[in-house]
Amino acid sequence: MLLVPCSLCGPRNVDEFRYYGVPKARPAVESAQPGEWRSYLYMKRNPAEWTYEWWYHTLGCRTFFLAERETLTNEFRRPVSSATSEEGTET
């Protein structure tokens, strides 16, 4: 059982959440070239280490939050408390 530390509810079973992935910066919609936009859509960061990622608590408080997880062992650190925080957002 994988416990995800929700920023509001505390640790809950992973089945209650939806994974939204590693943050990536979106290019400017008006000026992005097709290749650049497709890169943003399709190219992934696939880290095998401590990483920030978005989670959404679907069956609970329904907030988005950034969690920090080690993707090799699924160990979590305490979450960033606000969904508006800039921490961890990167290209």
């Binding site: 994974y19 497709r38 880290p47 993707t71």
Partner: protein
Amino acid sequence: MKQRERYSALSVVRHGLTREAWPRAWRTYDLKHTYDVVVIGAGVHGLATAYYLASVHGIRNVAVVDKAYLGGGGSGRNTAIVRSNYLTPEGVRFYDRSLKLYEGLAGELNYNVMFSKRGHLTLAHNDSSLRTMRWRAEVNKLQGVDSEVVGPSELKELIPFMDVSKHTRYPILGALYHPPGGTIRHDAVNWGYARAADALGVEIHQQTEVLAIERDMNGVRAVNTSRGRIDTRSIVNCTAGWATLIADMVGVRLPIETHPLQAAVTEPVKVFLHAVVVSGSLHVYVSQTDRGELVFGASTDPFLSYSMRGSLGFTEELASHILELMPGIGGLRLMRQWAGLCDLTPDFSPIMGVTPVNGFFLDVGWGTYGFKAGPAAGEAMAELVSSGKPPSLIAGFDLARFTDGRLTSERGAASVGH
């Protein structure tokens, strides 16, 4: 003791009478300073690539390196189903080539791979599913692959214990019946390719981790491993779930996210299931081994992870779905569960071919459907590395398709629960 020996009934008798030891299936070597080709990843794709490089193209100065033991990744963790009933013409052609190679593999490799062509059924529980089955059947037939849509009564004849009535929660409306599909002994395929490649002079280096890749203005130049440095101008990335870790070493970005795919197996019981049964709507697939164990698979874990452990959540989900289909097996004990890593792509098709880095080739993105493709992928990659040009069979799987906007979408046939 002989270095190499052909397996046969006669050799079994001879060894039984003389008690002579069998030669090792593959040898260990010190790492040389240079190889013509370095294949990273000793799974079915990497080993098949090395085998066809040596056997078809005469390129034998090849090293296959793996940070763990050969066949220990997805190649050893899959549920061993082989089929070619895909959705796109490119996909069907590709997997059918693989199936044809599998048919002759035991003879070619002199290794019993236990290919059992028992038939493959994909159940449809609603109208849109049935429509997709019909679509797949027609595409298959156009490519010369035997697939047909069957109704509930025909399904009942194929699998007598299946409840095809309208009284189930998700009544079965029909199925895609694919007679050439079946099961195979996945470990034997890995070992067979390893042994045959080794016999041709390919060196398999296990417990040899790639730490860095050196480049110069002409492309790749060397591979730095935990056992030493190798000069080479050709590198093939066959690392599946770890694909981006290797690609990052040369600055090649991939549209790949690694998710675990779990599987489980029950205690052995008398054989009652003679075909492979898949249900997309129920998110489950099942087959029975010759030993009598039921082998199950379901959906990938819905988050990025490099963990290869099973979870209770999977078992609960699996049980609820499989018991919809076969209520009678509720009393069976689950013996073992595990996971493998799947390199998922946005269009559920692989990524094969060249990259912007000269000499760095890709055979990745195989997601949850890599094992059945091993032989055809190895054959195609060997041709690519040998000639420098991607064969037409894999033209639709190039990396550039993502930035060019021409995806090859196999979501309808690539498996369950995506």
